[in-house]
C-alpha cells in the first residue's frame, strides 16, 4: 500500500510539472484598433522569468520605439505584449498561438531567445506573420526553414568565431573549457566557439549543465588549475554569476568568458569578458536625445534594449509602407519587412536583410567587467 501510494504520488507530481510548464502570461497594453493606421504590432519578450532583466529592458525600448514612431509619423499603432518567460518554451508557444489568433497583429518584434524563435516558427509561418528578433543569435535559425523570420543582430556563427579568436589571440588562452547549458542557443554557440578555438590550436574540454542548476561545485572541481579560460555559453546571466563565484571560491583563476546571454546587470563578475551583439549606443552619433528620454523614464540600460527599438522600427516601418500601398495585412507587411532598408539606426549601422532573414553586416563586440562596469575592449 505504501509503495503504491509513493508511486502514485511521484506520477501525479510529474504530470503536474508538465502542466505547470505550459502556464503563460500575456500582457496586453492596449486593445488593437480596426483601421490600417491602428494595426497592431506584437512584442514577444521575457517580461518575467529568469531573463526578466533583459525582457524588461526590451519591453521599455519597444514602448519608447512605438511612442516615438507614432509621434514622428502621426500614426496610432498599438502594441500587444506577450510574455515568453525565457527559458519556458511552453510559454513562448502560447504567446505565438495567441499572436497568430489575434488578426489585428500583422507583424511581430521578437522573440528574444533562439529556442523561442524555434517555438514561434510553426505559428508564424503558416499565417505568414513576419517576426523580427532583437536578440536570437543561434546560427541555424536562418537556414531557410523559417521563411518569415528576420533578426537585427548577428548570428552565433559570427559570435562564436569572434569570441574564440579573441580568447586565443588576445587573451592567449591555450587550454579552454567550454560549457553549454543545454538550451538550443547555448549548444550551438558552444559548439561554434569550440570548433573555431580547436582549429586555432587550443586544447578544448567540453561540459554541460542544465538551466535549472545552481550547484556547479563538482563541475568546478573538474576544471584543472592549468585551464586558461572557461567559456560559459549560458543564457541565464544569474547562472553565470553563480558559476563564476563558485570558481572564485574554489580558487580557480581561469578567465571567465561569456556570450551575449550574460550581458546583463545580473552578471557583474569582476574581470570577466562578455560578448554582445550590439554596442553600447552611448557612443553612437545622434543617440543622445533618445538616451536622455529613455533614462529619464526608465533608468539605465544595457545592450538588449536598443536592438528591440530597431526591431520595432523595422516592423512599424513595414506596416506603414504596406498601409500606404493599400492595406496592412500580414502578407503585405511581410513583403515590406523583406524590403527593409534602414540607412542608419541607433545601433550605428544600417539594417537590410539577406534572403534568409539575417541582417547584413552583423557585428559582435567584446566587453570586460571592470569595477562592476562593462568596458568595450573589442573592437577598440
Amino acid at each position: 500500500m505504501r509503495r503504491a501510494l509513493i508511486t502514485v504520488a511521484v506520477a501525479v507530481l510529474a504530470a503536474a510539472a508538465v502542466v505547470t510548464a505550459g502556464v503563460a502570461k500575456t500582457v496586453e497594453l492596449a486593445a488593437p484598433a480596426k483601421t490600417c493606421t491602428n494595426a497592431s504590432l506584437g512584442l514577444a519578450a521575457p517580461v518575467t522569468g529568469p531573463a526578466a532583466a533583459i525582457g524588461q529592458e526590451q519591453l521599455h525600448w519597444a514602448e519608447l520605439g512605438l511612442a516615438r514612431y507614432n509621434t514622428e509619423h502621426k500614426t496610432t499603432y498599438k502594441m500587444v505584449v506577450g510574455d515568453t518567460q525565457l527559458p519556458n518554451v511552453a510559454a513562448a508557444i502560447n504567446v505565438a498561438r495567441q499572436f497568430a489568433s489575434n488578426k489585428k497583429i500583422v507583424g511581430v518584434a521578437g522573440p528574444a531567445g533562439s529556442q523561442e524563435v524555434q517555438a514561434f516558427g510553426p505559428s508564424m509561418t503558416k499565417p505568414g506573420i513576419g517576426y523580427v528578433s532583437m536578440s536570437a543569435t543561434r546560427d541555424d535559425l536562418t537556414n531557410g526553414q523559417r521563411p518569415t523570420f528576420f533578426r537585427v543582430v548577428g548570428s552565433d556563427d559570427t559570435q562564436g568565431a569572434v569570441d574564440a579568436r579573441y580568447a586565443l589571440r588576445t587573451l592567449k588562452a591555450d587550454k579552454i573549457v567550454v560549457i553549454n547549458d543545454g538550451s538550443s542557443y547555448s549548444v550551438g554557440l558552444a559548439a561554434r566557439f569550440a570548433n573555431v578555438a580547436h582549429i586555432l590550436g587550443a586544447d578544448i574540454d567540453l561540459d554541460e549543465i542544465t538551466q535549472q542548476q545552481t550547484d556547479f561545485s563538482p563541475l568546478v572541481d573538474k576544471i584543472g588549475n592549468d585551464v586558461d579560460l572557461v567559456f560559459i555559453a549560458f543564457q541565464i546571466a544569474s547562472q553565470g554569476q553563480t558559476f563564476a563565484q563558485q570558481m572564485r571560491a574554489k580558487g580557480k583563476s581561469a578567465i571567465i568568458f561569456g556570450p551575449d546571454g550574460l550581458f546583463s546587470s545580473d552578471f557583474t563578475f569582476e574581470g570577466a569578458y562578455v560578448s554582445a551583439f550590439a554596442r553600447d549606443i552611448h557612443g553612437v552619433k545622434g543617440t543622445a536625445a533618445l538616451i536622455k528620454a529613455y533614462e529619464k523614464k526608465y533608468g539605465k540600460f544595457g545592450t538588449f534594449g536598443p536592438p528591440t527599438y530597431v526591431a520595432v522600427q523595422v516592423v512599424l516601418g513595414a506596416i506603414d509602407r504596406a498601409c500606404q500601398a493599400g492595406a496592412a495585412t500580414r502578407k503585405t507587411v511581410l513583403a515590406q519587412i523583406k524590403k527593409t532598408n534602414l540607412k542608419n539606426t541607433i545601433l550605428g549601422q544600417g539594417i537590410r536583410f539577406d534572403a534568409n532573414g539575417d541582417v547584413l553586416g552583423g557585428v559582435f563586440y567584446i566587453y570586460r567587467i571592470v569595477n562592476g562596469k562593462y568596458q568595450l575592449v573589442f573592437p577598440k
Binding site: R3, A16, D207, T210, Q213, D221, G251
Partner: protein, 306 residues
C-alpha cells in the same frame, strides 16, 4: 587518481547531502506520525530561502550588510526557521487536519494543492526572477586547507549547522517528553491517545520542527548556491522525498543517510561524468533501492495483523 579532486567532490557531495537530509527529515517525520506524504514540504523549503533572503536584504544585502556577519547569519536562520515552522503549522491546520480521517489519497491531493498554492504565491509575491544571496560576497571565498583540499567557510557553515540541527533533533526525539510522545504517536496513534498524549499537539510540533528544518535548508542552499527562485522547492522537494524513501521513510537516521547518499551520488555524477546525468542517477538509485530493499536502507517492514 587525482585525490584532491576526489575529496573536493566528496565535500561538495556532503554539503549538498546535508541540505537534502534536512529536507528529507521533514518528509520522514510527518510520514512517521501521520502516514502522509507532505508534498508541500519542498515549497516550505523555498519559502524559508526567501525569508532568509528577506532578512539579508533588510539588513543591507550581501555587499554592505549593516549587521556583523555572525548575528546576521543567526538572524537569517532563526527568522527563516520560525517563519517556515509557522507556515508548516498553518498548512497542517488548514489543509491536512480536516482530512485526517479521509481516505489517504485526499490529503495527498491536498498536499499537491498546497504545493502549487505556495509556488504561485511566491511567484506573485517575489516575482519570477532569480534572486541572488551572493553568499561568497557575504561570507567570503576563504576557508582552510586539509592537504591540498580547500574547505570553504560556506562548506563548513552548511555542514556543521546541518549536523548540529540533526543531532538536536535526535536528542529531542530520544530524550525529551515531546520526543517520547512523537515516538508513541508514530508507533500507534490511537494507543498513544488512550495513554493521554495530546495527538494534535504532537502533530503540530512535528510539522513545526520538520518545516523549520526545511527553512534552515533553504537558507543554507541560498548561501551555498546563491540563486533562489519560486520553483526551486519542486526539484529539491523531490530529491528530499527520494532521500527519505531511500533511507526508509519514517526513519530519522534513514533520512540523514538517504540525503547524504543522494547528495554524494549527484556530486560524483556531476564531478566525474556530466551534470546533466545527475537527476537520472539520483532517481535510478531510488528505483534500485526500492527493488532490492522496498523498505529503504533503514526502514522496517510493516507488520499487517490479520
Amino acid at each position: 587518481m587525482d585525490w584532491t579532486r576526489f575529496f573536493n567532490v566528496l565535500i561538495d557531495g556532503i554539503q549538498l547531502g546535508s541540505v537534502y537530509a534536512l529536507i528529507a527529515l521533514g518528509y520522514t517525520m510527518v510520514y512517521g506520525i501521520l502516514k502522509l506524504l507532505n508534498f508541500a514540504h519542498g515549497d516550505i523549503y523555498m519559502i524559508g530561502a526567501f525569508i532568509g533572503f528577506g532578512v539579508l536584504t533588510f539588513f543591507g544585502g550581501p555587499l554592505s550588510p549593516n549587521l556583523p556577519l555572525a548575528p546576521l547569519l543567526i538572524l537569517m536562520f532563526v527568522v527563516a526557521m520560525l517563519g517556515s515552522g509557522l507556515l508548516g503549522v498553518a498548512v497542517e491546520r488548514f489543509a491536512y487536519r480536516p482530512l485526517r480521517d479521509a481516505p489517504r489519497i485526499a490529503p495527498l491531493i491536498s498536499a499537491l494543492g498546497v504545493a502549487f498554492f505556495l509556488e504561485n504565491s511566491a511567484l506573485l509575491l517575489f516575482g519570477s526572477q532569480y534572486r541572488q544571496y551572493n553568499g561568497f560576497d557575504l561570507i567570503g571565498t576563504g576557508g582552510f586547507f586539509i592537504g591540498s583540499v580547500k574547505i570553504t567557510w560556506i562548506n563548513l557553515l552548511v555542514v556543521s549547522s546541518a549536523a548540529a540541527l540533526m543531532v538536536a533533533l535526535m536528542l529531542l526525539v530520544a530524550r525529551t517528553k515531546l520526543g517520547k510522545a512523537m515516538r508513541a504517536t508514530s508507533f500507534d496513534r490511537e494507543a498513544a491517545a488512550m495513554q493521554g498524549i495530546d495527538i494534535d499537539r504532537v502533530i503540530v510540533w512535528t510539522f513545526f520542527i520538520g518545516s523549520a528544518l526545511a527553512g534552515a535548508a533553504g537558507v543554507m542552499a541560498g548561501l551555498a548556491y546563491s540563486s533562489i527562485y519560486h520553483f526551486m522547492g519542486f526539484t529539491a522537494g523531490l530529491k528530499g522525498f527520494a532521500a527519505a524513501v531511500v533511507g526508509g521513510i519514517g526513519s530519522i537516521p534513514g533520512a540523514m543517510a538517504g540525503g547524504l547518499l543522494i547528495g554524494l551520488a549527484e556530486s560524483f555524477t556531476a564531478g566525474y561524468m556530466n551534470g546533466t546525468w545527475k537527476d537520472a542517477v539520483t532517481f535510478s538509485i531510488l528505483v534500485l533501492v526500492m527493488l532490492v530493499r522496498p523498505t529503504g536502507l533503514f526502514g522496517k517492514p510493516e507488520i499487517q495483523k490479520v
